[in-house]
Structures are given as structure tokens and as C-alpha cells.
């Protein structure tokens, strides 16, 4: 994959970076050199490999649990005065037109 000047402009835009012309030229060079090297990942067959976004999924989240239980590890005791306890998972999902045991389901949000 070759990065073009237009790509650099587009990405700088997304990243909210106001690059000078020298910076843009340098970026073009560096990105191409790095992505060239990174391309070797395509040598690997990962068609049946699940992605790993979070190491602690490996040992914290019990995929066998559902609802509030599954996310219990991420909750905390209320430590500030006046805060009420959060609504339990199941109750929060109860009114949803479409949900599974854990999440609300909606049409695709991210264009890929």
C-alpha cells in the first residue's frame, strides 16, 4: 500500500493536526517506510484467528456469564457521597426494542 500526499492530508485532517509542508513531506516518507515494513503481517493466515483487543479478556471477563455478572469486575462501590447505585444491567435493557443479554443492538454505526 502506497501512502499518497492526499492520504497524508486526509489523515492529518482526521487527527486534527495542522502539519507544515515540511512535516507533510517527512510524514509521507516515514509512513511509507513504516507501512512497507508492517506489510509483512499479510504473510500470516489469520482467517480463523479471533482478534485480541484486550489482554484482560484473557483472564478477567468470564464469557460464560451474562448481564450484570459479566461486567461485575468493572463496577465499583460508590465512593462519593450522594451517588445512587447504578441501574442493574437487566433492568437497563428491559425496554430495548432490540438487545441481547449484554448490549443494545442497533444498525451498523461505523462505516468500514
Amino acid at each position: 500500500m502506497k501512502v499518497t500526499e492526499k492520504d497524508v492530508e486526509y489523515v492529518a485532517d482526521l487527527a486534527n493536526l495542522d502539519l507544515t509542508p515540511e512535516e507533510r513531506a517527512g510524514m509521507l516518507r516515514d509512513l511509507n517506510s513504516i507501512l512497507d515494513y508492517v506489510d509483512r503481517l499479510s504473510e500470516l493466515d489469520t482467517s480463523n484467528v479471533p482478534p485480541m483487543a484486550q489482554v484482560s479478556d484473557h483472564y478477567s471477563v468470564d464469557q460464560g456469564k451474562q448481564g450484570s455478572e459479566r461486567f461485575a469486575y468493572a463496577s465499583r462501590e460508590d465512593i462519593l457521597e450522594g451517588l445512587r447505585k447504578s441501574l442493574p444491567h437487566e433492568e437497563a435493557l428491559a425496554n430495548a426494542p432490540d438487545a441481547d443479554d449484554n448490549f443494545f443492538r442497533v444498525p451498523k454505526v461505523i462505516e468500514r
Partner: protein, 477 residues
Amino acid sequence: MDLAALTIDAARSAIQERKTTAAALAEAHYVRIQKEDGQIGAFLTLSKERALEQADRIDRMAADGKPLPPLAGVPVGIKDVLSTRGVRTTAGSKILDKYIPPYDSTAVARMEAAGAVVLGKMNCDEFAMGSSNENSAYHPVRNPRDLNRVPGGSSGGSAAAVAADMAVVTLGSDTGGSIRQPASFCGIVGLMPTYGRVSRYGLIAFASSLDHIGPLAKTVKDAAIVLRTIAGRDPMDSTSAEVAVPDYVTELDKPVRGLKLGMAKEYFGEGLGDEVRQAVETAIDRLKQLGCEIIPVSLPHTPYAIPTYYLIATAEASSNLARYDGVRYSHRARGVKTLSEMYRRSRDEGFGAEVKRRIMLGTYALSAGYYDAYYLKAQKVRTLLTRDFDEAFQKVDAIVTPTSPTAAFRLGEKSNDPLAMYLADIYTVTADLAGIPGISIPCGQTSEKLPIGLQILGKHFDEATILRIAHAYEQAA
């Protein structure tokens, strides 16, 4: 007072036995910093008021004959990516030049609750992005063992301070090797705990699934004491694990005889410097003499670790650094007329070249049309790399490798070639990706008297075993 010989226990007992005071210890270190740090550049900010207040507290406890907490009066340095309430915290960046955090990181709070005296904030590569501390927006750090060379990075200041006896122990952070590699370059101990072992609350985030906090110390025991102090579940960090914290210190003296150590051939191939290879192989031989069994293992996806790391880390960084927008706490560009102009110019002025490069790379890897080929692909390879370790750890208790392919390089040597700099992380990034713990300990030096590091990698939450092995080697050396 011989600062060079000062360890945590030595400091604490000297205070308990009234041979010295916490205030005197702190002062002695500030004198040393005044004398040496002009050349080295390890500190960005000194926190004298806070240090002396804490020292005073400890001294009053000692005078009252009260038992002292585990880190009582111990002078420590905190890498400038860890928030310290009321004390300027820059992450090594100009964009946070004036930032004063309104809260303490959990790791710092735990250190101070245990009596540690925070001397100041340690210089580092900007936003922890770098392997030489040359990316600090303020000034580089020089290796105390050879001032023409880098201390390593990104926790270069943390490593140099311990190596030069300007602090007894420091906290650093490790995302791709940033605790272990500088420890190796400076000839000290650097421990990266399992991901989730230490709360990241208050750590200025670089890559949230890869960041780890850990100690840099003069001895393995000191690293164990600090780990015992800072480890453990924190409700403020949902990725901190609900795993009990063993007493790492009492575990240290358990025998290593019979432990199985893996030697992965991928870490001893091309690119490894001859003198480093020799020192590491000699060290492994020593461990064999101490009764460990050396077993060949393979971590076949190792050649894919650097590309995987540089896609995941930069992607996560591009998201984490989006918050530096000139609105709430960072540098704001002058003379801007629109909101958009404010964001862009503030960021362009405040961020250094390497940070911008990584934000660009990460944004690109996540952008429409490229997400699958880059970011998602990297996440899948991350699974493969983790499986390599899972499989190896079925056969062995720990894996021994060099920490870095070379000893400390010269300032300026790699700073013009980003890719060459990235490749220096080859032996350290794998542990960050898999979330396993790793320790680097000194195991000799090159013919130019530059330190060489031995790395010991362990299973998730098995810091006790790698500390034990490291301790046994250190005691026998």
C-alpha cells in the same frame, strides 16, 4: 552516607534505628541531584516541598518509636507520565508544559501511603513514545555509565536516576519495553508486571491495552518490595485484576533448583550483538549451575511482533491523544479564530515529531478502508503471539532472553531513522502484547563497559517466579 549502597531496607532501618532521618536522606539526594543532574538530565521537576513534608511525617513517627511502613523515608522518583496532585506533570511533552494534575495516580498514592518520599518527576520520551529518551520535548537524558550514550527509553530518566544514585527506586511505565530496556542500558533492575497487576489510574495513557507501570531499582528485592506496595485491584481501573497480591519478598528466597527455563531460538538469531549474546548465554549457564533446567522453545510469530505492536500501539495512541485539544488543560495556540483552528494549531505546536508520526500512523491504520488490513489484522496476530507464549509456558516456568539486541547506543545514532529505533524493541514488545510479566537484570558489560541486560519472562501473574530466578542470579553473581 553512601548513597550508592542505599537500598529500601537500608534506608528504612537506618531511619528506624535513628542512625539518620528521612529529611537527611532526602537532602542528601537533592545534593546529589544538584551535583550530577546537570549532566544527566533525569529530572524534569523537583518536588521539594512535598518530599520534605513526607520526610517530616516519617521522622515524627520514628521519633515516637512507631513501627515504620515498608517504604518509610525512601527517596523515589516518579516518571512524568504518572499524575501527581499539585506537582507539574508533563508526560515529557510541551503540550502539558503547565499541567498540574488535580489528583494522584493510584501507584503514587500507594507508594506514599507506604512512606515513600517523592523527590521529583522523571524525564521521559514524549508520551512514553521512544526507546532512547531523545524524544523528550525538554532535553534528552544521558546514560550515567557513558554520557555520550542514551539511557534507553522511554523511562530513561527513571533508569538514569537509579543508576546514578539520585533516587533509591523509581516508577516507570512500559508499553513496548520502556522499563526493561532502559534498565538494561543503565545496568539496573527493571520490572514490568502482568497487565492488570498494577492500576493504571492516573497514568497518562499512551496505549491502554499495552501500558504497564513498574519499578526500576538497584536490586531485585527492592523491585519486589515496590511491586508488593503498588500491586492489587483498584476500583478506579476496571482493567486492574482481581488477583491476590502474594508477598513477593518472602517468595524471593525460594530455591530455583528444578525450575524449567525456556530459551527461544527466535531471540538468539540474527541481529543480536555478539557481546550481548555472550553475556546472556553465560548468565543462562549460571542459572543452569544453580539447578535450573534449560529447555529450547520456539515462539514462531516473534518476527511479526514489531509490526503488530506499532499498529496497535499507534492506533490506541491516536485515540488517547485526541484529548489534547487546547480546551481543558493543554497548551492552547495563540491568535486562533475558530475552534477547529484552535485544535489543530494547539496540537501541531504542542506535539513533537515522533508523537505526530505515531498519531498519523495510528489514525491511518484505523481509517476507513484500512482498518481490516492493519488494525484488525494486528489484533489477530496479537492472538497468535499470545498463543505462542501460552504453548511455551506449558513446557517451561519462565523464558530467558536478552533484553535488547545491543547495549546503549550513542545519542543521535538512531534518531534519524524511526524504523531502526523501532527495531530496537524486538525482544521486549512481545511481553507487552501478551500481557505477561518481564524483568531485566544486569548480566555483564561490553568491552566498552556498557551494561547488558538479561530478561526473564513469566506467566500471567507469576511475578513471584521471575523475581525468584532474578534474585537467585543476582545473589550468585
